[in-house]
């Protein structure tokens, strides 16, 4: 046994991932750079005032895109959500209406009453009127 065994090179555990990462960048980069070279060689850039203007379905943009919405809008959203859920419950209620017992009917009416009460409360709090 004069010769020693060949020592396998110790691979870093991340080597494969790094190789794949490089390959991924090259794979993506080649078509992009080819397209860039092609555009440079053949296709002259032609920017313009209208071409670079804001797209408003062909109309001229009026005002600024950075407008602010009143924060109190969130209350509308909450009230809307409550009645949206109510509509979801009303649909099966209407479908099963003829077969419902008196108790179930009363329970549904209580549910509706609670929601209407919530609306009246919200209205009395002045939520439904826009403040400045």
């Amino acid at each position: 046994m004069g010769k020693s065994l060949p020592i396998a090179p110790v691979e870093h555990p991340w080597a494969t991932i790094v190789a794949l990462l490089v390959a991924a960048f090259v794979f993506g980069g080649i078509p992009l750079s080819l397209a860039w070279v092609w555009a440079r060689l053949f296709s002259p850039p032609k920017p313009g005032v209208q071409k670079n203007a804001i797209y408003e379905c062909g109309l001229e943009a009026k005002g600024d895109a950075w407008i602010q919405l009143n924060v109190s809008y969130y209350l509308y959203a909450i009230v809307f959500l409550i009645f949206d859920v109510e509509a979801v419950f009303l649909l099966p209620f209407a479908a099963a209406y003829s077969g419902l017992s008196l108790g179930a009917c009363l329970a549904m009416l209580v549910f509706l009453l609670l929601l209407v009460e919530g609306l009246i409360w919200a209205s009395q709090k002045g939520v439904l009127t826009w403040g400045s």
């Binding site: 053949f42 296709s43 032609k46 313009g48 209208q50 071409k51 203007a53 797209y55 062909g58 001229e60």
Partner: protein, 204 residues
């Protein structure tokens, strides 16, 4: 390369091509139209994209909702004078290379409303039109035919030389003047650089 030699080679499974052909082949099979319709012709255009006529076979089913991503403007229907500035502005906002199909009698000439007070007598007064389709409305087959004509036009375009298309000429503009919707119709009434009144051309 000689066309006969090419055909002969292709019979033996050898395909010869040029950069130009490859480029145009890719371009003509991925023409993305802009999503917009102006009148009843738009219904035929929509039918063309659906399963029965299936414009997807020609690579043009991807109707883009933004002019930034579109190559083709299908002017499908009556262009009223109030709408014309918007159409021209949309065309201006499309990136090069861009093509226009004027679909139907109204878009090419004003059609039955030609003598009316509020209809543009053809969109070619303001933007360069590549293919005109007559008909009121043209059937989906007619639109497909126009589309194939446009594909032929694209595949015949040269990348270099004097005959190269306008989008490859740096000195030619990408935008066309947008007319104003004034008190007495559109001002100016046409873009004289691209529109030549056929009556005046005939008179010399």
């Amino acid at each position: 390369m000689d066309q006969d030699l090419k055909t002969e080679l292709s019979k033996h499974g050898i395909f010869a091509t040029t950069f130009e052909e490859l480029y145009n082949w890719g371009r003509k099979n991925s023409v993305w139209p802009l999503t917009f319709g102006l009148a009843c012709c738009a219904i035929e255009m929509i039918a063309t994209t659906m399963a029965r006529y299936d414009l997807a076979r020609f690579g043009a089913e991807v109707f883009r909702p933004s002019p930034r991503q579109a190559d083709l403007m299908i002017v499908s229907g009556t262009v009223t004078k109030k709408m014309a500035p918007q159409v021209v502005r949309l065309y201006n906002q499309m990136p090069e290379p861009k093509y226009v199909i004027a679909m139907g009698a109204c878009a090419i000439s004003g059609g039955p409303f030609r003598d009316g007070y509020n209809v543009l007598k053809g969109i070619d007064r303001y933007i360069p039109v590549d293919v005109h389709i007559p008909g009121c409305p043209p059937r989906p087959e007619a639109l497909i035919h126009a589309f194939m004509a446009l594909q032929d036009k694209i595949s015949a375009q040269h990348l270099t030389g004097e005959s190269r298309p306008r989008h490859l000429k740096a000195e030619l503009p990408s935008e066309f003047p947008v007319p104003d919707f004034g008190e007495h119709g559109l001002e100016p009434a046409q873009n004289d650089e691209i529109f030549h009144n056929p009556l005046k051309v005939l008179q010399g």
